[in-house]
């Protein structure tokens, strides 16, 4: 037998330990086999659960969005009916009217005075 064949024969004599063989055999038998139908079922229910979670998440997000916009709109509306703001606005309006009246009176005072003087002069002449 040539040298290479002797080496190959030596490799053929390699054997796993008997204890290892028995231990692994028992472990494999105890692990059970993957059942294709069960696997499919598990996958199916996992998909269903995932889909439900996705829908629930979307609904929750929509609810949060709706609630946020509702609260936001309400705040704006409340702001527009704020009593203090309305009073301030009314007061500033009145002030603007008073100022307008003052300007009018200032402009018309001279003309009114001249007319009154003319009326009194004509009464004296009569």
């Amino acid at each position: 037998m040539n040298e290479f064949n002797q080496y190959i024969e030596s490799l053929k004599r390699i054997e796993p330990d008997a204890g290892f063989r028995a231990r692994t055999r028992n472990l494999i038998m105890a692990s059970g086999q993957r059942n294709a139908i069960k696997e499919f079922g598990r996958g199916f229910w996992q998909d269903i659960a995932f889909g439900t979670a996705l829908v629930a998440g979307s609904i929750l997000l929509m609810l949060v969005g709706v609630m946020y916009s509702y609260v936001n709109t309400n705040t704006l509306a409340r702001k527009s009916f704020n009593e203090e703001d309305v009073l301030k606005e009314a007061q500033s309006l009145e002030f603007a009217i008073e100022l307008g009246e003052a300007v009018y009176f200032e402009n018309s005072a001279d003309a009114v005075a001249a007319a009154l003087e003319q009326i009194s002069k004509s009464r004296e002449a009569n």
């Binding site: 040539n2 004599r13 390699i14 054997e15 063989r21 692994t24 993957r34």
Partner: protein, 187 residues
């Protein structure tokens, strides 16, 4: 090929553990031997052998008989495990490797009980390390496990021609270290 192998596989596919046990008993030495030479380490070879058979047991439903022995499929699983093993090992250099070549080729007493056999195993394992992974696989499957070229081609997902070429190159490489190696007189 194991007697009544097809029936055993069919029964094992339906969950018959005893039938798978018979397949395990028949093929575990071959797969272990292959993995032992590929990893150079008894414990790693045992772990990988365990993983190969757990994987085979759990995925037996996917196995379809294509005219080759069940071992072809097992070798395929084993080769993938070796690829994963070396991919992970790149980042985890063991103490055994760090100790140097002598320690890397240490052969446990449980495997090689006599010194002469141990020396031969050490020598051939050292020589096989000079070959590429594919060349090692072809030499092991062709000469140690005596698989046909068609079976090896099926395991390696290559053509028979490619397998013969790999074998030729492997023998040329081995001849550099074993000048007496005569390709026509390999048993």
């Amino acid at each position: 090929m194991l007697e009544r192998e097809k029936q055993l596989i069919e029964k094992a596919k339906r969950g018959d553990g005893e039938c798978f046990g018979k397949l395990y008993d028949h093929y575990v030495p071959k797969i272990y031997r292959f993995l032992f030479v590929k990893t150079n380490n008894r414990e790693e070879a045992e772990d990988l052998t365990h993983e190969v058979f757990v994987s085979a047991w759990q995925n037996l439903g996917r196995y379809t008989h294509q005219g080759f022995p069940f071992s072809s499929w097992l070798y395929q699983v084993a080769r993938n495990k070796v690829i994963d093993y070396y991919r992970l090992k790149k980042n985890h250099t063991s103490l055994e490797e760090a100790d140097g070549e002598g320690a890397a080729f240490a052969v446990e007493n449980t495997i090689a009980r006599d010194l002469d056999n141990a020396l031969k195993i050490n020598k051939i394992k050292g020589l096989l390390q000079e070959l590429s992974s594919d060349q090692q696989d072809v030499i092991l499957m062709r000469f140690v496990e005596e698989l046909s070229y068609a079976e090896i081609a099926s395991v390696m997902e290559k053509s028979e021609g490619a397998v013969r070429l790999i074998q030729h190159r492997a023998i040329q490489e081995l001849k550099k270290h074993i000048p007496s190696l005569d390709p026509d007189h390999i048993s």
